[in-house]
Symmetry: C2
Subunit: 342 residues, 2 copies
DNA sequence: ATTAGCACTCTACTGACGCGAGTGCTAACA
DNA sequence: TGTTAGCACTCGCGTCAGTAGAGTGCTAAT
């Protein structure tokens, strides 16, 4: 464990480096931070800290910068995460009110807000409807040849699709078919509706097999479609402001990665837990972001964990501030979403 | 008007510059392109072309690069736009089939495909439902306290929202209310449904005013929401591969702009026309993209123009290829979307 | 244990220099 | 008169050496 003085020095280095992105030397610390010790002493301590793995040196005659282990210690033991200010809360509330009308806009706006407040790329994983329960499907007339198929789950989510009425059937036939399917499937969890169930029902449809099969395909697709959650990205341009991305190649690599929705979802999923989780540099499993850190938190609707909010950026980031912001979102996003009646 | 030889030289310069991004000199042209004239002659011609504004010189001892006027002449008179190859069509069809399940995914995939084929940023403006006609609204039961309100238009688009059943009403009451509203509004164009109409209907609801007002607000929002079209972006990372964006500051500016959905919509809207439209460099009104070109085309569903596909990139772009791709999308995107039954 | 002093190291910046690519001009040529 | 060869000139770019500055580690004094 580090003694008080080493902690103070480490904290000073990290705080300074986070804001300036420059390696920091003993003299600077002595000058800026009033620790009551001379640069020489600080040098000795810094040498120790480097030996212990908390700091590293870009080259011999440069100052020190925090190593991954240093950041880790910082977030675990040194960092303070004050709740965000009244003022910020007001701002946020205001943004939501003026910008977000539809549910997707709430997610999009959330991503924007987070990226704006943290000056980093933000990721918002919108609810996946995995645990949803099938309630019923219903046909709604559209015109002579077409109907709308709506699938309703207990969460109030409606998937809809326009279908052409098959040859030889009228609207009422579809209505009856729907009733039969509903009787069988109502109350089933979407994820449990599998081929076997369909197979059973299919027996009931000696004639109209073709219709049934079309329907079935649509339903299956709808279910599959819902499971695939949506990812909202915010503030990719913020990346460019960071000095670690002065090199265009790095930017390109990261940006390409950010376009891989699947991958990002995976990354966020591997670390689900209740509070704010911070993954620093090499702690990330995916090699493309080993010089990045991820701060993430889940949020709930009605007690159910439904999604994740996260911030992605270089390891040099304001962990305290970011944690505060995500802590807030973790607590309130559910309520905000509820107001939009998901 | 330019004589044959000048045209050939201009074409050679543009073709070469587009692929190499390097200023091109007289020697190189003489070597690479078999025009049967010596570098000295080419030099003279190039000097003329520069005087006429078709070319410019980054500095005295560099080769020439095309000026905006040069590109303009190129796209108007020199460029060939062969239809895209059988092979590409196959690839595209395949991509759609494997990747796109829901309608939004079709747009997203379209953006990706365009950016992949053109190696530039793509923009896809999804249908706005301005000209849609209100068909009916319908309540669907969800649980004891909540219902789903679905609003159906003649295009088969369904907007849905979960509502809490107001105190003192039961599902059947809502049903009756819906019927009354439908009788009045059915067949009206969404954009014509204005406060005045609502006002009329409101007379019918001596009691239940509160319910009616809530409903009304939801409907109004739904209508407003639909009008605001969605923009899909593809291949922002492609930008970074272009040598003109070797400078991070430029990337940042452009990327920030790409996050302004509104702005992009406006830019695309100002140049709507039936075929492929090309806007080069300074021809763009918005100052942020004056060193960029935009190639855009509208697409139709059932003969109605419903959206725009576009490519945005540095003025140095493969206008021919890009035009071919957008020409294809302009023709077929409507059909593809139709297959998904929008 | 702390600190002042000092030699040492390494980077970033600067200016000089030469190379190469390309031009414009002139004069010769068909 | 249009085309071409030759040539002097210009300019950007990469290389190289030299310098300034920041920071370190070590040693000796406090």
């Amino acid at each position: 464990m580090l003694d008080e003085r080493k902690r103070k020095i480490l904290q000073a280095i990290i705080d300074d480096y986070v804001s300036t992105a420059e390696p920091i030397g003993s003299r600077t610390i002595a000058r800026k931070y009033d620790l009551g010790i001379s640069p020489a002493t600080i040098r000795n301590e810094m040498a120790d800290l480097e030996l212990l793995g908390y700091l590293e040196q870009p080259h011999t005659s440069a100052g020190r910068i925090p190593a991954a282990k240093g950041y880790r210690f910082y977030v675990d033991s040194l960092m303070s995460t004050p709740a965000i200010s009244e003022n910020d809360v007001m701002l946020i509330t205001n943004w939501y009110q003026t910008r977000a009308r539809r549910i997707e806009e709430v997610f999009q706006e959330t991503a924007k807000i987070i990226s704006r407040m943290t000056r980093n790329v933000s990721l918002v994983l919108a609810p996946q409807f995995g645990p949803a329960v099938f309630k019923y499907l219903q046909f709604m007339p559209l015109d002579n040849s077409r109907v709308i198929l709506a699938i309703v789950t207990d969460t109030g989510y409606v998937e809809n699709k326009v279908l052409t009425i098959p040859e030889g059937l009228v609207f009422d036939d579809l209505h009856r078919i729907a009733e039969r399917i509903n009787r069988r499937l109502s109350g089933q969890a979407l994820e449990h509706i599998r081929s076997s169930v369909f197979h059973d029902i299919r027996q009931d449809f000696q004639h109209d097999r073709a219709v049934f099969d079309t329907l079935l395909e649509v339903i299956r697709q709808s279910i599959a479609g819902d499971k695939q959650e949506r990812l909202y990205l915010g503030g990719t341009a913020q990346l460019l402001a960071q000095p670690e991305y002065r090199d265009v190649k790095k930017v390109k690599d990261l940006l390409s990665m950010l376009e891989e929705e699947r991958l990002l979802c995976d990354i966020l999923h591997t670390k689900e837990s209740d509070g704010v989780v911070i993954t620093i540099g090499g702690e990330n499993k995916y090699s493309g972001i080993q010089d990045c850190s991820v701060v993430q938190a889940t949020y709930r609707i009605d007690g159910q964990v439904v999604g994740t909010v996260a911030v992605l950026g270089p390891t040099r980031m304001e962990y305290g501030k970011i944690t505060s912001v995500l802590e807030f979102m973790h607590r309130h996003l559910g309520d905000i979403l509820n107001r939009y009646r998901l």
